[in-house]
């Protein structure tokens, strides 16, 4: 089975040439996506086209749809990517979830973003700061308020983000 996105929907190609759109409307087919399929799809998207500032990324619509329709699976998918992926993908995932501006997205992904703030990798901490900046919520302010960054340029950036969010 292959997973792709069409018009902001996850499409599961069950067996060529039939195409099923998740969530499936047929009672004979599972209504939940396979976590590993979504993980593979997202990994492929991030590896194929690294997330770039100012540019929308294809993974955003996949994650947004998952959060809306299957938040538990969204959490499983993100957890698996963070556990399995190398340095290339994990920071992109964290930045990407910061682009999903909804209370549900924040509830699902905040624990991961907070963990990323404590990472030994600066790319993860940078991604976490920018995810919190994207959410811009009281929860994001709270997470940033207790953050101590050792690298000067990122510390400076985080301080300015916190100032902006408190305005």
């Amino acid at each position: 089975m292959q997973v792709t996105t069409v018009d902001d929907r996850l499409v599961f190609v069950v067996s060529s040439p039939s195409v099923a759109t998740w969530p499936f409307d047929s009672s004979s087919v599972s209504t939940t996506p396979d976590v590993q399929e979504v993980v593979d799809r997202l990994m492929s998207l991030f590896e194929g086209e690294p997330l770039e500032s100012g540019v929308e990324h294809a993974a955003e619509s996949v994650l947004a749809h998952l959060v809306r329709t299957a938040p538990t699976i969204a959490m499983d998918v993100a957890t698996r990517i963070l556990a399995d992926s190398e340095e290339l993908v994990a920071p992109q995932l964290i930045r990407c979830v910061g682009r999903l501006v909804s209370a549900r997205a924040e509830a699902v992904f905040m624990p991961m973003v907070k963990d990323a703030l404590k990472s030994s990798e600066i790319s993860m901490r940078d991604a976490a700061v920018r995810a919190l900046e994207g959410w811009g919520t009281p929860g994001a302010v709270h997470a940033l308020a207790g953050y101590e960054e050792p690298v000067p340029w990122l510390r400076d950036y985080a301080v300015r983000v916190l100032r902006d969010l408190r305005r």
Partner: protein, 179 residues
């Protein structure tokens, strides 16, 4: 003159073990789009560093080509240093909604792997010197774009929706504050 490019700072400031400060790990090519040469070209914004406003102008030029507001990291290098290293620069119209800045754009052209590595080395040295990069938060960029709207350098409706919305919020904030 300086050549400015959008970058992801965290990928440049972290030097892996075993690499000298002027060395660029090969994996940087795959980790981010900073060195992604499209048509064997890399895009730069070109500004006169003696102009006190050049950093703000470069920021506006870059963000003026965006679809959505985001934080921004930029780095810059001396144009002369790149030319001396054999890099060829050709003017081209930059993708930005700030019409007056479109001509501040150049492409480093006919890049082979050796020339791309030369640019990467110059960028790495510039960034790791600690003095040739700059960051802007989303709100700082919204303020700059709102200033540009108020100065009639750009029209709000010309901005893509996700870029224009935060600018609109900033403009509304100014209105309610009586500015």
């Amino acid at each position: 003159m300086v050549l400015v490019r959008k970058i992801e700072l965290s990928t440049w400031t972290q030097v892996p073990e075993g690499f000298a400060a002027d060395k660029v790990p090969a994996e940087l090519l795959s980790k981010c789009s900073d060195l992604k040469a499209i048509g064997n070209e890399l895009s730069f914004w070109r500004f006169d560093a003696s102009d006190v406003a050049w950093r703000g102008e470069a920021t506006l030029a870059i963000v003026g080509g965006w679809k959505k507001l985001d934080g921004l990291h930029v780095a810059w290098m001396e144009e002369d240093a790149l030319l001396a290293a054999g890099i060829t620069l050709e003017p081209s119209a930059g993708e930005t909604i700030l019409a007056e800045l479109k001509n501040n754009h150049v492409d480093a052209v006919r890049l082979d792997l050796s020339r791309l590595a030369t640019i990467a080395r110059h960028l790495a040295l510039a960034i790791r010197s600690g003095s040739q990069f700059h960051t802007s938060t989303q709100q700082e960029l919204a303020v700059q774009l709102a200033d540009a709207v108020e100065a009639k350098r750009v029209k709000l409706p010309n901005m893509p929706q996700k870029l224009g919305e935060p600018v609109q919020v900033e403009l509304a904030r100014r209105t309610s504050a009586g500015r």
